[in-house]
């Protein structure tokens, strides 16, 4: 990527990665926070806090991943798949809580 | 331990420890003492260096306790490392002397 002239063709994947890092990474970190708040072994308010304290590390890792991935598509997939998984898991945990 | 004295003592303990560790590296050994360190000297310096850094941490715990002590240790480690890093290119031959002169300067207050 370094020292390459800017043309629309190599501009778009870069733009896509920046969006993936900033927005995608934040959404993944948010979903991970919700998921972790179900599984941190502490009282509910403490679990929410613990999950949030950890979320900034997740966000950082997500940004690093986006720029390390081989291409923009893989970068997005690497965020969306775990994000979807965590969202489904959180939803199930919430349902289980409601049933219990 | 009195805090300002601890600050002083730990700074020079860290300095001496970091100096010893830097001397295990060919580049800095050549700068300060000329030539390459022998294997045995390298080991001795490494042992001395890490022991001094450990001693510094223990001194910090005496002065500040184990909650604040490590924070002070990290800070003093950085401060001492800056001293060493800027001494090495400008006055490499003086670097070992500082580790002796520095602690000695702390002695006079004890006689008064």
């Amino acid at each position: 990527m370094n020292a390459r002239p800017v043309t629309p063709r190599n501009h778009l994947p870069l733009f896509s990665r920046i969006v993936a890092a900033i927005v995608g990474g934040y959404l993944l970190a948010s979903i991970a926070t919700v998921f972790l708040s179900f599984i941190v072994p502490a009282s509910l308010p403490e679990a929410v806090l613990g999950a949030t304290l950890f979320s900034f590390a997740i966000y950082t890792a997500a940004i690093i991943w986006v720029f390390a991935a081989r291409n923009a598509t893989r970068a997005w997939l690497g965020l969306l798949l775990p994000g979807a998984g965590l969202a489904v898991a959180s939803f199930c945990l919430q349902l289980a809580k409601g049933a219990a | 331990m009195e805090k300002h004295f601890a600050l002083y003592l730990v700074f020079f303990t860290c300095y001496a420890g970091l100096l010893a560790i830097s001397l295990t590296m060919d580049r800095h050994h050549a700068q300060v003492l000329r030539g390459k360190p022998e294997r045995s000297r390298r080991l001795a310096l490494r042992l001395a260096g890490w022991s001094l850094l450990g001693l510094a941490l223990w001194l910090c715990s005496l002065a500040w306790g184990w909650a604040i002590g490590p924070v002070a240790w990290f800070g003093l480690l950085s401060a001492a490392a800056f001293g060493l890093v800027f001494l090495l290119p400008y006055a490499p031959r003086f670097a070992p002397w500082l580790s002796i002169i520095g602690p000695l300067l702390a002695l006079p207050p004890f006689y008064f």
Partner: protein, 539 residues
């Protein structure tokens, strides 16, 4: 786009770092100055000359609170909250604060604790003092938007630290390496060594900086598990009484003085602050905060509670009492409070504050070296990153480097001069001081855009050096107090501010000499001037 992990991290470090480096430098520099916000305020408000403020008796405190309440009832009968700060050793005036609604700005007035009349500007050197740097540090004086900008920059810092470690292959081999006088090599060494030697500090201060505003930056947990009801969440987290939402029934706040005295008896400590939430509404509550005992807490990493007593403001019923030194909440909350404490360095008194100051300045210098390195590299060997716009972008980076680094340093020291030169009777003096600070900073930007980089660096450094070195003289001429007098009476705070300014002045002179020598050497070799700017330091 086949590249190694290190190559992608190098790209991320360079470009991610560059666009945030100026704002990060501002956050680091002002945050580091903010470590000494109290001594700076002490200097700016001429506290050194004032004698000891005598301790107040219970009757005097009760009288002061009553006067403050009368004032607030007249000024803001239905505010969102009132806050009353009782006089203490740092501040002899009675202070009242309020906010009309959550969206409106904070109001602050200072009152005479004996008569309740508003203190006229001019009776004291009204100034934000060192708080200006603290506000710059966490919100850039831009409110919520500023907090988010700082948060984004802090995330960028975290990413830049990690990617920087990957890029810097020889961390251990180069641990002690600084090779001065070698242009680009020296800048890279300086950038690396400053970062590596303070790496634990940098990670700690960056991560804990995000944690301070954790509920703002990452509200997902509270949103999902508590329907976003922060009041309910925080009262559960801290084992506090339930939140008291507004009832929209008019009711007058009971006299505060007796409540304050009952609160003092309950926590067995003098009052520092009295806070009333929702005054004028049936839901109003009064909280008495015990005075913070800084000396007793300086040996502890996490300061203990100073004690609070909460009352129903209408009926005067006790809702909750937390004794001084008691602990509430569980392990995770303790972890979060430890992280906060590590960030704010309220512990350990001056030795620890100086270590933070040194590490913070090293961090700022590391950022400055990185920004300058970017241009030094490209002056020698221009890339073509922006096609035909490349030269223009480089010029913008060059100008921003000067203004964001040299210019901010100049504006910070100029703020001390503004404090002494602005007449005492100017309306809203504290705000004017800060506006002038920004005006100076803006002027340095114009100056940087007007001059060649070498001249801009030299002139701004020279101006900073002069302002730093002449600061004791300015103080002597404007107030009659100065370094020597302060040292003679054992006023370490006033003396410390001026001695630190002198030290920075000498540092800037050394940097200037270095710049001039490099420029002369470049002239002798008949080279072009711009390369010599490579040696400018950020301070």
């Amino acid at each position: 786009m086949k590249q190694t992990f290190r190559q992608s991290m190098s790209w991320l470090h360079t470009w991610g770092g560059l666009w945030f480096t100026w704002i990060l430098f501002a956050i680091f520099l002002t945050g580091t100055l903010g470590v000494f916000d109290d001594p700076i305020s002490h200097w700016m408000r001429e506290k050194g000359k004032a004698g000891e403020v005598p301790a107040m008796s219970a009757e005097e405190r009760a009288r002061a609170v009553t006067l403050a309440q009368d004032y607030l009832v007249r000024q803001a009968p239905r505010a969102e909250f009132w806050s009353i700060g009782l006089p203490d050793e740092d501040e002899p005036a009675l202070r009242v604060f309020w906010r009309e609604t959550e969206a409106s700005p904070f109001q602050k007035r200072t009152l005479d604790p004996a008569s309740g009349s508003q203190l006229k500007p001019g009776s004291a050197r009204e100034s934000e003092g060192g708080h200006h740097f603290v506000h710059m540090h966490f919100e850039l004086h831009a409110g919520t938007a500023g907090i988010w900008i700082v948060g984004a920059a802090t995330m960028a810092m975290l990413v830049a630290l990690l990617s920087g470690i990957v890029v810097h292959k020889k961390i251990f081999a180069d641990f002690f390496t600084f090779r001065p006088g070698k242009g680009q090599r020296s800048w890279l060494d300086g950038h690396n060594v400053l970062a590596v030697l303070t790496l634990p500090f940098l990670f700690m201060i960056t991560y804990t900086g995000l944690i301070v505003f954790w509920a703002t930056y990452m509200p997902a947990g509270i949103a999902a598990r508590y329907d976003g009801d922060e009041e309910r969440y925080f009262s559960a987290l801290t084992d506090g009484p339930p939140a008291r939402p507004r009832q929209f029934i008019e009711a007058a706040v009971a006299p505060l003085a007796p409540l304050m005295l009952r609160g003092e008896a309950a926590i067995a400590r003098e009052t520092g602050f009295v806070v009333v939430e929702h005054p004028g509404d049936r839901s109003a509550s009064v909280r008495i905060f015990g005075r913070f005992d800084a000396e007793a807490e300086s040996d502890r990493l996490v300061g203990r509670s100073s004690g609070t007593a909460l009352f129903d403001a209408i009926s005067g019923e006790v809702i909750d009492v937390q004794k001084p030194n008691s602990v509430r909440g569980g392990t995770v909350l303790a972890v979060q409070q430890t992280m906060n404490a590590l960030h704010f360095v309220r512990f350990g008194a001056y030795p620890l504050k100086w270590l933070y100051f040194l590490s913070g300045m090293a961090g700022a210098a590391m950022l400055a070296a990185g920004a300058i390195l970017f241009m030094v590299k490209r002056r020698k060997n221009a890339g073509n990153e922006f096609g035909s716009a490349t030269a223009g972008v480089y010029r913008v980076v060059e100008v921003l480097n000067v203004a964001a680094i040299g210019g901010l340093v100049l504006a910070c020291i100029a703020y001390f001069w503004i404090n002494r030169l602005l007449p005492l009777d100017v309306a809203e003096r504290a705000t004017r001081e800060i506006e002038l600070f920004f005006a100076v900073w803006l002027a340095t930007l114009a100056h940087a855009a007007w001059r060649t980089p070498h001249r801009a660096w030299c002139e701004q450094l020279a101006a900073s050096a002069f302002l730093c070195l002449a600061l004791p003289l300015l103080n002597l001429l404007s107030t009659g107090d100065w370094l020597v007098a302060a040292l003679a009476r054992g006023d370490g705070e006033t003396a410390g501010v001026e001695l630190t300014a002198l030290a920075f002045g000498l540092l800037f002179i050394a940097a200037l000499r270095h710049l001039w020598r490099r420029a002369a050497a470049a002239d002798a070799r008949d080279e072009t001037l711009p390369d010599a700017t490579a040696t400018a330091t950020g301070g």
